[in-house]
Structures are given as structure tokens and as C-alpha cells.
Symmetry: C2
Amino acid sequence: MEFYRWKQDTDGPRLGEIRTPHGAVPTPVFMPVGTRGTVKGLTPEDLKSLGAGMVLANTYHLWLRPGADLIKAVGGLHRFMHWDGPLLTDSGGYQIFSLAPTREIREEGVDFQSHLDGSRHFLTPEGVMHIQEALGADIIMCLDECTPYPASREYVQGSMERTLSWAQRCQKAKTRKEQALFAIVQGGMFADLRRVCVERLVEMDFAGYALGGLSVGEPKEAMMEVAAESLPLLPEEKPRYVMGVGTPEDLVELAGMGADMFDCVLPTRNARNGMLFTSSGKIAIKNSQHREEDIPLDEHCICYTCKHYSRAYLRHLFMAKEILAYRLNTIHNLWYFLELMRQLRRAISAGTYEQFRVRFYQQRRVHSGS
Amino acid sequence: MEFYRWKQDTDGPRLGEIRTPHGAVPTPVFMPVGTRGTVKGLTPEDLKSLGAGMVLANTYHLWLRPGADLIKAVGGLHRFMHWDGPLLTDSGGYQIFSLAPTREIREEGVDFQSHLDGSRHFLTPEGVMHIQEALGADIIMCLDECTPYPASREYVQGSMERTLSWAQRCQKAKTRKEQALFAIVQGGMFADLRRVCVERLVEMDFAGYALGGLSVGEPKEAMMEVAAESLPLLPEEKPRYVMGVGTPEDLVELAGMGADMFDCVLPTRNARNGMLFTSSGKIAIKNSQHREEDIPLDEHCICYTCKHYSRAYLRHLFMAKEILAYRLNTIHNLWYFLELMRQLRRAISAGTYEQFRVRFYQQRRVHSGS
């Protein structure tokens, strides 16, 4: 992997490109989440037509089912899921934290129960490298402990030390040169611990750095504060990835602070729940006001869904639980997020990020009627 | 609607074309079923790329939800579902027979409960015409009583008489010239009653004729006997439609008897249940033997699914209940049916239907190992 920066304000928004063995993506980039090796309801061709550059898949889910060795045996995750573009796999740390019914974290690794069948599993940093090498993504992540919120300073410090020691073990265990290994910064909401974590990880020299342990229940301000303090500490010449984030507002704010990469289930999960993002705010498609609306979801949107279907039809499909509802809604929400990133990159490129940001919030205020 | 016959053996297979205000389709034609205004999981663009010519939608389902008046208000069913090709709506007779928890059939019409919420509804032949005119399909069907199997001769005769009287009332009630009205032949498994029904309907002069009340639990031989006796009685110059049928074997047999149109949920429903049609027989994708199979569903198939995905991936998606499983399986099964129809038409065109039929069964015998 290579990372080029085309444009950068000091401690401000950056424009760049991540080049991987499976192609290049412009940054800042939003990665749709393909949890189990599929972005729910969409084909890779759909993703390309939406302009998705890089896709994220979950190590935890794929390791439990169908298994990393199986995926390796049939040619790796790219081939398995028919996605020939850039691909990132996470380490499973977040899923163990959020999905496993029970878990015990030790220095050696983490012992946890599968959310699928309650079976017990043990994952080590070395094991996670082995799994991600079997999957074969272009960018792989170190195993981290996703620190819960709230947590005592003492707990957060111990957890951060563990994440550091695991990062070192991951680096040592990694064997495939064509894969880029990113480290994950932990440290909870403690600025000094985050700083120590960044410094020690940067010393180890990774291909990229991620902020982890955000969007875990903390107030939005706390998240933004951590990001604002941590992002400038990261090396300029490496991609900066804010994991599991976020809302459209988060993306605009964090890109403004110099973040390069994002992933979040928000657009895809909300789509399946009938919550749709539009230029005039969020729409709950099940609401009866949309029953006879012969207009697109968003009249300013040029996505496939908005070009060809009315709110009335989308509501009908959603109420009838038709499979096509999930697909059309996902197309629209992902288009909204990916189009926002395109506009953001254009603004950064033109040196008009601040104007873009002001307009972005103005538009929201106008439509929310305040 | 116009119907052209290009080729016809006496009482044998026919090759033709149905021309509607929304385009022409070659016959014999298999119509994918879009129950609630969507062929589950697929877009109209998907259907076109599969070569689907005409789509069927269900009056019963659309009338109950979201309602025919709503669909009319937003521009009719074509526009609502974004399908600009030929479209047929059935009359609801079959759904009232198969889905409604309770029903009472009277001369005036049928009183039944909705399977959605148990609410009571009353449908008359005139009402069904009104609904289908609101939906605006190119071909619409008379309200019939789908006679159950088994049933006494007395019951079948009364039921057939009612279907005849309802057909006349439908014809009288119909107002939109651009829609073609087809009548439905009933008469159970009694050859003489079917004959009487055909004769009386033909006297009334409809744009096309359907065989109804088949595939309702009768033995396959009974169905084939009824079809073999009834199809030749229908006017040569009108399309002949066998409703709700059938398996690949049924399509080959009935086309051989001069049937022009078919519809069935078999390929789409089986797809969602993981039962897939291949040139070497049916596959249950959940079976563990497919777990690591890095081969397409059907090595002789050139559909999107077979071109890009392995059985291992399709099994993974199906076991994980991923939405994409239903879509990829549906694409494959529909391609199988529509490709069978293309091969059938080519054989009829070349005058080699009999050879095609022999080869079709030979292939099956080889693969079933007998």
C-alpha cells in the first residue's frame, strides 16, 4: 500500500489517495461495511456504480462463519465475494467487545463466546494476523482491546498497554508483504493516554493508524475532543482512519480535522430499518405521510432509487417487507454517504472546505426549520 | 394486444408473438411472478438482463396493500413498479382460493377474509375489472372461481357455470380498450365440463384463454390430461395461457401441446428456499457438500450468479440469511427458466421440438444416474 497526499492544510483537511494491490481510492474515503463478505443486499457491481472505493469486511464474523481457512481455500476473500477493489478487514476487537455474550481478556489473548452458538474461542494477536492473512485483504488491522465507556483511568491504561503489546505482536507475526498493517489507538477519553498510545505506536512504525474505541456510548463532544487531540499527533504521511464512525456530520467534522478513512454501518443498517438520509433531513419511510407521495426520496438525489421510484412505492415495499426495499434503500443511503464524500473531496481540492462545512450546516438548519 | 403465430404444428407446439402497448414478447413465454409489484429481490433492469418479456402481478395482493386506487393515483402499476414492459395481472380468484382464511362464494361475488389482517372484503366480477383497470396492466384476467381438487361433479359444474357468468359480467364491465381481457377455463378434472366451458367462453370471444384450476393438488397425469384435452379446443388465433404452471418438465410438455403462456412462483420461491435448478438436476445449496465447492452452481450456465460466484459463497450467504443470497439465487433460477424457454422457442422455430424434448429428458436421466 502507498499513500499520497495531494493537498493538506496544517492540522486541517487532507486530500489523498491510498494505492493498494487492488486499486486506488481517493481520500477522505467512506468504506461501506460488508460484514460477512457482502454489503447487505448489494452486488460488487452495485457498489462500483455507487462509487464505493474500498469495502470493509469483519474478521470476527467471517472467522466464525464460514471460516478463514475455507475462504483461503477458495482463493481468498476478494475472489470469494467477487470484489476486486481495495478491501480492509478489521481485527475483530470491536465485535468481541460488542457481540460476544461473555469474554475474558488476558495478556495472551481474548477468550470469548460466539454470538452464533455460544461456543468458546480464543483469539491472540498472532491468530488474528493468521486469519487476516488467510482472508487476504489489502489493509489489515492489529488486534486491539476496544475499551468500554465509561471506564476508570486505571482500566483504560491497562487496556491501552495491552493494545500496545498486542500491536507489537501483530507486527511481528505478519508475514504477507502485500498487506498493509494498521495499528489502532486506544486510551479511552483520556487525552494523555491517547497521546502515549499514539507515540508508542508511531515508534513501532505502521502503514497507517486508526482511532479505535470511539462511538462506544460516549457523548459526541467527548468523541470529537479525542479525535481533535489525537489526529494531529498522527504522522502526516500515513493514512488516518477513524473506526466505526459516523453520521454525515461526523464525517464532515473529522475530515476537517485531517481524518482520511471512515467506516460505519449507519447508512446500510438505517436503510434496512427504513431510515433514509436526504438533503432535507432524515425520512422514516414507513410514516403514513409517504403513502401516496409520488415524488422521489430526495429530489436533489440522482441515485438509481431516486431516479426510478416514488416514496409511495418505497413505502409499499417496506411495509410489505419486500427484499427489494432493503436493496433500494441501501442504494440510496450509500449514495448519500458516498456523494457527501465526493463533495467533501471536491471542496478540499478547491480549498473551500470551510465554506462547504458552513453550507452543509446551513442546509440542515433550513430544512429542520430552525 | 395482438397475437401473431409464426409457426404451428396442428395440435402441436406454436411459435408466436404477443404485442402489447408496452412491447412485444415471443411465445411460448414464461412470466416471472411479481406478486406485490416486485419480482422478489430483483429490479426491472435485472429482469430485462435475464430476458424476461412479460411480468405477472397479483391483483389480490396489490388491492389489499397498498390499494388499487393508490397505484392509479401515482400513475398505474407500470410506473409504480418501474417496469415498462408487458404486464399481466391475474384476477385474484386463485389467491382467494389459496390464501383467504375464509371465503363464501355467491353468484354475485365472493366474500372473503384478508390473509393480512382478517378484515372482510367482497369482490365482484365488475369490481375486479375496476381494480385491474386502475392497475393498468396490458393483459387482465376475468374473475373465476378456482375449483378445488378433489370436488364432486356437481360442485365443479356449478362452479364452472359461475365462472362463465362472471366472465360475461367481466367482459361487459371492462372499459379500457388498450387492455386485453383473457377468460379462464374451469371444469375441474372433467373433460366434458372443460369442453363446455371452452365452447361457451369462445362464443363470448375473448382476447385470450387461460386454463385455470390446475396445479391445485391433482396428480400430474390429471393435469396433463386436462391440458391435452382442452388446449386443442381453444381458438388457434388466440394466446393460450396455462396458469400457475409449472416445473421445467411441465413447460416443455405443455408448450408441446400448443400452450403459449405460463407463470409460476416455482423458480423464485425455490430460489429463496435455496433450491436451485441446474442442468444436472436440483441442488439444495444448504447441503454441507457445497461448503467448500469452488465451482459455479451450474458449469453450463452463463447467468450472472454462475459467472461470478462459487457454490461455497452461495452456501455461506444462504446459511447467514444474507439478502444477497435470495437475489443471486433468484437470478440463477429465473435465468434457468427463461433460458429453457429460449431453447424451446429455438427448437420450435427449427422444427426440432421432438428432438429437443427427447434430449431434455435424456440429460435428466443421465444426471439422475438412472
